[in-house]
């Protein structure tokens, strides 16, 4: 082989390796999904969705878990959305270039890198003990809300940054105040981007187990919660609990619950991707 042939061979070989690497993760994922579907799909029926937990695998259901997940999502959204969007607006529109804004920015990117289990320790002590909320839904929701904040703040800022200056100029020139400009022009124009971030944060929260285990969410809750101060469990914790049991029948339950959890995650992510594309296409400045 001449030198140039060797080079061309290396080039082609790497291309093959690149394709291999690109698909290996997806192939593994596909194998796993097929496995899960084979294991769990047959287990999903009306009773599985509506049964309370039980020590006997074939009678156990995920009713308390998905109700708990729903509660947690709604409660944490109520806290995290307004806070995160407001903080993002402040950093992008008001606090630019000030020293505190710089500090806030470093702080938020640090928070984004704090492991979720550490948020659990924070929630356990502050919400659980200092506020006296114990291992309730509210403790869990507040903890997850803090976890979601950095994601929402960062995507809000990016979405707002994409709104061109000319729109703000036009609004100011018509006598609008800063807040009127933000409220009537900037936020509506960046709505798609902000919504994408919010949904991604939700999809992150729906899969979290570790911080909720730490704050004291229980694996076994006999009844579905009816108020924010009730004890609760969520789907990921229910799955974790079933995985930890030795009997094969519980592994089947886990697989079935995973299908439901993945379905929720994929739907949320799908909506986010759809919104992002739609929003990008619609608005051309």
């Amino acid at each position: 082989m001449t030198n140039s042939e060797l080079n061309r061979f290396k080039d082609k070989a790497f291309q093959g390796f690149g394709i291999f690497c690109t698909f290996i993760g997806l192939i593994v994922l596909a194998i796993f999904l097929i496995n899960i579907l084979i294991d769990g799909l047959g287990r999903i029926d009306w009773e599985f969705l509506n049964n309370l937990p039980s020590r006997r695998a074939h009678r156990a259901g995920i009713y308390t878990a998905w109700i708990g997940t729903l509660w947690i999502l709604v409660l944490s959204s109520v806290v995290a959305f307004p806070l995160g969007i407001a903080a993002g607006v402040y950093l992008e529109e008001y606090g630019k270039k000030s020293r505190i804004a710089n500090f806030l920015e470093v702080n938020i990117s640090n928070l984004a890198g704090v492991p979720s289990i550490i948020y659990g320790l924070l929630g356990l002590e502050i919400f659980g003990r200092v506020f006296g909320l114990g291992g309730s839904l509210l403790t869990g929701a507040l903890t997850l809300a803090l976890l979601m904040l950095p994601i929402i703040i960062v995507t809000t800022r990016e979405a707002i940054k994409a709104v061109p200056r000319s729109i703000r100029d036009a609004s100011f020139a018509l006598g609008a105040s800063k807040w009127q400009t933000i409220w009537f022009q900037v936020l509506p124009a960046s709505f798609g981007g902000i919504l994408t971030g919010v949904i991604l944060a939700l999809s992150r929260a729906v899969g979290e187990a570790a911080p909720l285990i730490v704050i004291g969410a229980l694996a076994y809750v006999p009844f579905a919660p009816t108020s924010p101060l009730d004890e609760f469990t969520v789907l990921p914790i229910q799955i974790f609990n079933w995985i930890s049991r030795p009997q094969a029948a519980f592994a089947t339950n886990a697989a079935a619950a995973i299908i439901i959890l993945l379905l929720i995650t994929f739907i949320l992510n799908g909506i986010a991707v759809y919104l992002r594309n739609k929003w990008q296409k619609k608005v051309k400045w």
């Binding site: 729109i167 036009a170 018509l174 006598g175 609008a176 009537f184």
Partner: protein, 254 residues
């Protein structure tokens, strides 16, 4: 021709971007219900000056102004003046058409809505009359609920002018309003400017010498932050006093 009263006046005006001295000791008085054109090479300060007239530069970090700008004899940089009130009096049209990504109707009535006017009839009437003033009504009356971004570039710019007129300003500032448009749309806008001067005081920044000649009554030539020459347009274009003006007008630099 009787002398019209002065609408806008700058006295010993200096402006800075941080350490950069962008406008140097500008003194100029603009007539009411007339068109004043600002010309000059890029970076000469003409746009900066235009944007001090409705305080659009307030939001730029490190920008500051010394001296006075008088609107009907009142200093607009005075502490008592509220910027939003000022901008209702002094409207602005930008270089590139910048309609809001909303309906045509929402664009026109935005300035009224933020003033708290909610009456649908009032808004609709205001929208129609402003759109008529910009000769856009016939073209868009069936598209009021359509996105303004679907209009052509020229229509968008006329919509932006209508939007500015809807809050009944007495002055309209135009920052190179046709630089992003094709010749036909440009002609329409120029025609419009000619008509609007019956009711409004218009200040226009332009790169296009012929345009200044066609639309303006007075022309001011800026160079390196200084106001070099200010005269009747006809005079300026036929017998400029300064050599720099002469060179610029005849296209020797710029």
């Amino acid at each position: 021709m009787s002398k019209k009263p002065y609408k806008l006046e700058a006295r010993n005006l200096n402006a800075y971007y941080g350490g950069f001295h962008a406008l140097k000791d500008i003194n100029i008085a603009m007539e009411e219900k007339a068109v004043t054109a600002f010309i000059g090479p890029s970076g000469c300060g003409k746009s900066t000056f235009l944007r001090t007239l409705n305080r659009m530069n307030d939001y730029i970090d490190g920008f500051r102004v010394e001296g006075d700008i008088l609107l009907d004899g009142r200093d607009i940089y005075n502490k008592d003046i509220r910027v939003d009130e000022l901008r209702k009096e002094v409207g602005m049209v930008f270089q590139k058409p910048n309609p809001f990504p909303k309906t045509v109707f929402e664009n026109v009535v935005y300035g009224l809505k933020i003033q708290g006017i909610k009456d649908k009839k009032v808004l609709a009437e205001a929208a129609e009359s402003s759109l008529r003033k910009t000769a856009l009504w016939e073209e868009v009356k069936d598209k009021m609920d359509k996105s303004a971004l679907a209009l052509s570039g020229g229509q968008q710019q006329r919509l932006c002018i209508a939007r500015a007129l809807a809050i009944s300003p007495s002055v309209v500032l135009m920052d190179e309003p046709t630089s992003a448009l094709d010749p036909i749309s440009t002609a329409k806008i120029e025609e419009l400017i000619y008509e609007l001067k019956n009711d409004y005081t218009i200040v226009i920044v332009t790169h296009n010498m012929q345009q200044a000649g066609r639309v303006s009554d007075q022309t001011a030539f800026f160079y390196m932050g200084e106001l070099v020459e200010y005269a009747k347009t006809k005079t300026m274009f036929t017998s400029p006093k300064h050599e720099r003006t002469q060179n610029y007008i005849t296209g020797r630099f710029g």
